[in-house]
């Protein structure tokens, strides 16, 4: 056999991957620069299919990048900028060392900067791609916008984040695209549907942050750099799509213009403008002012039966959505000072409600507390001294629950000082066999339009209790029945055994006992047969399939077990509550 000997690891997957260190050397970058480049360009390590092959026979833990990705980085103009920055730092240091202040100033003025526009365009070739990835950007920007303007990052970054998030919220309000909200212990989750994409973001509660020490803020800052650019472009495009002016301007001919006087309180005009925007109480100026909102209407196509059913379903969904968009229309809210103003104002405005607050809380309040037309007063304290008769005093959870339920829930459960019903996550979609909390069932019934008064409910509950008890009894009976069957069998077997023993011992007692009519449960027999058939077939499975099957079945069983556990816990809790109630009654 002729030919050269083939060497190992010179072809195939070993050549497709490159380790991080080698990649860094190839790019001639320091580790922080490489990291920054990877973050900005969206390059991430890949897990090779055969790690040992790629690792050239070694099993040492290494991270691998695709060689193509690294090659692609070689031509990135930003790498040049990184080098320039390095040189700039060196020059600056030198100038400082020589105390040449003029040189320092000159250098400072010409500090190299870079733009990320082309990277955004490259990473997200279409607008939809960008929207799909905007979740993280929003979360990050909302987090940064809540940072104090000291310490951890540049003030400009925080301001930019604040501005961009305010713009985003204003867009969501104007387009009425908010779908779900959720008060979690981490923060407030929002989900909006923008151009068909579901976008979820979380906003922390308004508290000053306890900055952890083991977080590398440089990494976060690099991400924020990218995300602010992305969010800026996305905002621009979104504003354009709604014919809104970008950067956003308040609608000058709207009635709810904040009063002029408040402007004096702010040092800078631009700052006050941003504040007014972030108050979220005023609508935005449009490029084409007269543009009315076009109602989305599905065109009717002459179609066959099956598709038309689909269309009907879609139409129904759309109708529901439209209804949800106008959920709070015609309602006038007033926020007490202890409720989270930004979140509530955002949500209420998203669904067409009017909202105001105390003048001293924030700029942009539109009406006073004394306004007689206020319908809902949102308050989060045990009691108030002066109550107006013609408005509901409710706790803030009502707003969130209404949005998730897509209907206006009865306000009675949310009155002042009332123990609130549990707040459920709107993101959980229960499949068959999952545990569904009873509150969810109630809300679903409400959505279907089954109205139940409070008293009625109680009665129902009681009835339910009784029914439950009855059911339990029945079940027990059923169980007993089964047991009886089993017992019979057991007894028979015992008898047989006894007889056998007697026979083997030689004492044969012949006895004729009255025979019993054996009732054969046909369905049960059939079921048993089927079960046995299945068991036998499972025995014939191949080893691999058996493993997979066992795994799947284990997962299923675990799910069922978890659901059962939750149900049992709930039942125990309810029973305890009931017992308490009864005691209290007595």
């Amino acid at each position: 056999m002729g030919g050269l000997q083939k060497k190992k690891f010179e072809r195939g997957s070993a050549t497709n991957y490159i380790t991080r260190n080698r990649a860094r050397k190839k790019l001639q970058l320091s580790l922080p620069d490489f990291r920054r480049l990877c973050i900005l360009k969206g390059i991430y390590p890949h897990e090779p299919k055969h790690k040992k092959k790629v690792n050239k026979g070694s099993t040492a833990p290494r991270t691998f990048y695709l060689l193509k990705d690294i090659r692609f980085l070689l031509h990135e103009p930003i790498v040049g900028k990184f080098r320039e920055y390095k040189i700039f730092v060196r020059k600056l240091k030198k100038a400082y060392g020589k105390t040449e202040w003029s040189a320092v100033e000159r250098l400072r003025e010409n500090k190299p900067t870079y733009k990320l526009d082309h990277i955004i365009k490259e990473r997200y070739p279409t607008f939809i791609d960008a929207l799909r990835d905007i979740d993280d950007a929003l979360c990050m920007c909302f987090l940064f916008s809540t940072f104090a303007r000291t310490g951890k990052c540049h003030v400009q970054t925080i301001q930019l984040c604040k501005r961009l998030t305010v713009e985003w919220m204003n867009y969501v309000i104007t387009s009425r695209s908010l779908r779900k909200v959720f008060l979690s212990i981490k923060g407030i989750y929002y989900q909006a549907e923008v151009m068909g994409q579901l976008i979820t973001w979380v906003v922390p509660y308004q508290f000053s942050h306890d900055h952890p020490v083991d977080v590398d803020y440089r990494v976060m800052a690099t991400f924020t750099e990218l995300y602010t650019t992305l969010l800026g472009f996305v905002n621009f495009r979104l504003y354009n799509s709604l014919n809104l002016v970008y950067p956003p301007k308040l609608d000058s001919n709207a009635e709810s213009e904040p009063k002029e006087e408040s402007e004096d309180d702010y040092a800078m005009n631009s700052e006050s403008y941003l504040e007014k925007l972030s108050a979220l109480s005023a609508s935005l100026a449009r490029v084409v002012s007269s543009a009315e909102e076009e109602e989305a209407q599905l065109d009717h196509f002459p179609t066959e039966g099956i598709r038309s059913a689909q269309m009907e379903a879609r139409e129904k969904e759309l109708k529901q959505q439209e209804a949800q968009k106008k959920l709070f229309e015609g309602l006038k809210f007033y926020l007490n000072r202890e409720v989270p103003r930004e979140s509530l104002a955002f949500i209420i405005r998203c669904f067409g409600g009017q909202v105001s607050w105390d003048k001293s809380v924030c700029i942009g309040s539109t009406y006073e507390m004394t306004d007689e037309t206020i319908t809902h007063h949102i308050i989060d304290r045990p009691s108030v001294d002066k109550q107006y008769i013609n408005r509901y005093y409710i706790q803030p959870q009502w707003v969130y629950d209404c949005v998730n339920a897509k209907v206006l829930l009865p306000v009675e459960d949310y009155f002042l000082g009332v123990t609130l019903p549990p707040h459920l996550s709107p993101f959980v979609e229960e499949k068959e066999g999952d545990y569904v909390p009873p509150e969810k069932l109630k809300i679903m019934a409400l959505q279907r339009g089954e109205k139940t008064g409070n008293e009625q409910e109680e009665e129902e509950e009681e009835e339910e209790e009784e029914e439950e008890e009855e059911e339990q009894e029945e079940e027990e009976e059923d169980d007993n029945g089964d047991e009886e069957d089993d017992e019979e069998e057991v007894a028979e077997e015992k008898n047989l055994k006894k007889m056998e023993e007697q026979r083997s011992q030689g004492k044969v007692i012949f006895k004729v006992t009255p025979g019993k009519l054996k009732v054969e449960n046909k369905a049960r027999l059939e079921q048993e047969e089927k079960a046995e058939e299945k068991r036998l077939a499972i025995m014939m499975m191949k080893k691999k399939e058996k493993y997979l099957y066992d795994k799947i079945m284990f997962g299923k069983k675990r799910k069922v077990r978890e659901a059962n556990k939750l149900a049992a816990k709930r039942k125990a809790h309810d029973d305890a509550e009931k017992a308490k109630k009864k005691k209290a009654r007595k």
């Binding site: 390059i43 991430y44 390590p45 299919k49 695709l66 003025e109 010409n110 490259e122 070739p125 279409t126 607008f127 960008a130 979740d135 979360c139 987090l143 008060l183 979690s184 212990i185 981490k186 923060g187 989750y189 509660y205 942050h209 306890d210 900055h211 952890p212 977080v215 590398d216 990494v219 976060m220 991400f223 800026g232 621009f236 495009r237 354009n240 970008y246 409720v339 989060d380 304290r381 803030p396 609130l420 549990p422 459920l424 996550s425 993101f427 959980v428 056998e500 026979r503 083997s504 058939e533 068991r535 036998l536 499972i538 025995m539 014939m540 499975m541 080893k543 997979l548 099957y549 816990k569």
Partner: protein
Amino acid sequence: MEDIALSFPDIRNTVGNIPVEWYKDFPHIGYNLDGKKIYKPIRNKDELDDFLDKMENPEYWRTVHDKQTGSDIVLSDDQVELVNRLQRGQFGDVNFNEYEPMVEFFSSDVMIHPITNRPADKRSFIPSLTEKEKVSKLVHAIKMGWLKPRRVEDDGRGRYYDLWASEDSSILARHRMHLPAPKIPLPGHHESYNPPPEYLFTDEERALWEQQDPGDRKLPFVPRKYSSLRQVPAFSHFIHERFERCLDLYLCPRQRKMRVNVNPEDLIPQLPKPKDLQPFPTTQSLVYRGHSGLVRSISVSPSGQWLASGSDDGSVRFWEVCSSRCMKMVQVGGAVKSVAWNPNPSVCLLAVALDSVVLILSPSLADKQVILSSERLLSAQQEGEEPAEGNGSVVWSEAEGEELNQGVRLKIQHPKAVHQVVWHAKGDYLASVMPDNTSHLQVYIHQLSRRRSQNPFSRNKGLVQCVSFHPIRPYFFVATQRSIRIYNLVKQEMTKKLQANSKWISSMAVHPGGDHVICGSYDCKLSWFDLDLSTKPYKMLRHHKKAVRGVAYHRLYPLFASASDDGSVIVCHGTVYNDLLQNPLIVPVKVLRGHVMTHDLGVLDVTFHPTQPWVFSSGADATIRLFT
């Protein structure tokens, strides 16, 4: 000042302006002009002295402590005045006038004479060389592009534009290998600030959560319930979580994982229904009780009327199959390892292995004709010449006295303990197995009609577990610990070696057609070999939970059974086709239970009825059971 100098000794310190602490450890405080030590005052004032001084001394307020000399100085009136002036921010000199009229040297009035008469410098009217140098340097720097004009700062307001104005798919090509990062999972009811009560942790769950490693926890947080929104505190791990997400995005290796989305029902193989494969034994119908030790071996007579069983209690019992009645019992005086009924229907003989003896019994449970013919077979040799003592180690002897009455006809004494006896299909040859790792004397083939024994193997190929004759052709199967060897008895050579893929073979059975073999092993496996197909098992069945003790084929029906230590007998349907291209069809049809586990042993032997689809099993609970 003069008189002061005269009246007091000059105690000025010459050490200079140094920290006084340097002299802390010395008795002196410095040196005077003469170079003599200035000693510290002998007694330091304490607080009480100080206080008394303050109360009594009218000069106290103007007394200053001189650290350099360690003495107290009383300030004079002038000095006090000076201090006061300085404290007020006035000049120290009383006579200094701060507000003298200003003399204006440079005024709008042009004077006729210059202020100074100095002639102008030459450099004032010659262009400066150094300046020129500097300017030229700057010019050069600008020309070379080192110096850039001041950049116009954009405030960031106008820096956004419609980036996606012209969407083209040219860049999309690069994204083929792109794996988008998975989104953060959405929060469930657990995370609510006011969750339903069932989602809150109980005390045990909470304790478990705290004990667990953060990586193992199902939830990264403890569900909490707050009665109102205003009580919800800040989440302490918020920044952490975002940071971890960032790390995941740029550090975590990504791989495309194909999620198997299989319906588990699809994984179950589609087998013919057991109902369609009838007949097969389904229920336990008879139990044969009588033995007091575990029943190691059972065998059914070729007519199907009698069942022989050998037990550890040293007896061989003969049962009538249909009535489960023990017809006869022979005490052989030793634990019976194996019994085998002669398959020839024209004779009625039973081989029994115990210790190192193989007994040939004539139970006389048949027609007279048959009994006679079997007696004739046994006595054929006697009439002829004396048995050739080909193999000195095996001794044939006839039974006498009591034993003869019981039915024992012949005794074949072996050199070692015999574990198994097997008949050839014709009923004249008999093979016995004496497992021994060290010798080649493990298998004997005895010829009954000529009372001859021979050892077919000259070499030891491993511990022999069991042997079997081919039902039709002159082949001999020998199962060693891990493989089955097939020998051609005519050519006296090995034809095949089957790899059982199991650790320790326990039993073996040959299909009546002779082309298939099943073997059970102590590692719970049952392997089916198709001799025409391969030397590897055609099918491995792992349906027993414990060691497989015995396997058997049915002579007529396509059935086989395996008995295991888990107390069950599994009957399988195994159709064999004449067509070489079609593989055997194996379907388990019934799991038969009944035997009681004793001493971790379940069923020890299994055998089929020769004509009916019935299966017998013998167990460690001293019973034999018939399943029909």
